[in-house]
Symmetry: C2
Subunit: 215 residues, 2 copies
DNA sequence: GCGCGGACTACACGTGCGTGTAGTAAGCTG
DNA sequence: CAGCTTACTACACGCACGTGTAGTCCGCGC
């Protein structure tokens, strides 16, 4: 239905089980036997369908990339302020796969996925820049990359954030609290424009002191 | 000198090697034999000093916590706007241990470390709130937890960010670019107060529609 | 019916690695 | 010197797990 035509097949069940196991225990600790058991198949079938443990991981990455692309397309259609929610939305939809994603990103895989998030963030930044009075110090792409990493820090450190908030970030209450928090963070600058300018001036001074030629 | 009195001992060398190996390959893939080889000792000595692989990991966590506490104390003394740099500073000082830290945070260990960062962020938020005209929607501690996770997302996703920026985040140029980017991000709100209020109103409406009693 | 390919299982192999054990050398105390 | 503790090594055990192999069942084309 909302998956591929291969959904109910053993192959799909194995992939889903792998996403769960690897997300829960990490790639190394996750065992083919454990994945097979969760999927309700023999361990040999895992190898039959995917060839090796690494290939199974690759298949998981590819599958998630497809799912997220679809999710992004849907989010792109929604241009209201619920854009702020896109991380929360993604988390809700991705559900149990969130831990897998976090690990994949941290491990350095899933690069195209991160880049796609940067692209989305870039669009958002461009819109924000359009209504901002003074020009930014660095280009939108750079800010998008950093901002995407920051946004992803929340689901990646989900357990720590949940502990700090006192509620599970995945629960409806946690999701709403996070959204309200993000509204504060994104609408209330931590630094005044004057303070930022002052800091920038300090950086410029340090740079010229070092003898760099651009100014 | 800047370490403990046990610095040059085999025990310290093993700990350092473990931080490197686990940071580089992850806890599971890191082997006691490999750590021992890097430390220039036999694998048995690792067990002799730390008892088990897990205990070695615990010792690494504890050691890093100590180092970071010292780093925080130093940062606390600096109340200028270079506060924005505290993540970058930490990364520079932590150097090769950064990957270990990221993994530890993602794995859920190093909870006290995260909580300490939340505490630091909370102080910073309180200072920003003092000069902000309108009151925040959520309390400072909640915002601090989320903001700390966001800030940590940058070093955790360091390779992706580096790719997006086109320079190594660890290089001096990368560090300066990051600082300038952070200045933009922290001084230029992504949402206007009006937009945030609109989104909040939407959330309130949804909440009362659900029949919650507080308003 | 026959053959054949794919899905699937049971089971054995090899190995890498954590862990346990025994033993050596050096320093300290009496 | 004996006796003990501590740092340290060499080596073997055992297990868990990825991988390889052989074989069964089922469906489809001829």
């Amino acid at each position: 239905m909302d998956r591929d035509e291969e959904d109910l097949t053993a192959r799909a069940r194995i992939r889903d089980a792998a996403l769960l196991h690897i997300g829960e225990h990490g790639f190394e600790r996750a065992t083919i036997r454990g994945i097979a058991e969760t999927a309700g198949v023999s361990s040999g079938l895992v190898r039959h369908h995917f060839g090796s443990k690494q290939a199974l991981r690759d298949a998981c990455d590819e599958y998630l990339h497809k799912v997220i692309s679809r999710l992004n397309d849907r989010a792109r259609a929604d241009t209201t302020f619920s854009d702020v929610n896109y991380v929360a939305d993604a988390r809700a939809t991705m559900g149990p796969y969130q831990r897998y994603l976090s690990r994949a990103l941290v491990d350095g895989t899933a690069a195209p996925l991160f880049d796609e998030m940067v692209r989305m963030t870039e669009e958002w930044i461009a819109a924000a820049d359009a209504v901002h009075p003074d020009p930014p110090g660095v280009d939108a792409h750079t800010r998008a990359a950093v901002l995407a990493a920051m946004a992803l820090g929340i689901p990646i450190l989900y357990q720590h954030v949940s502990r700090g908030l006192g509620v599970d970030l995945f629960s409806p209450e946690g999701g709403e609290l996070l959204t309200r928090t993000m509204l504060d963070i994104y609408s209330r600058p931590m630094l005044s424009a004057a303070d930022a300018a002052k800091a920038r001036a300090g950086l410029d001074r340090a740079r010229t002191d070092r003898g760099d030629l651009d100014d």
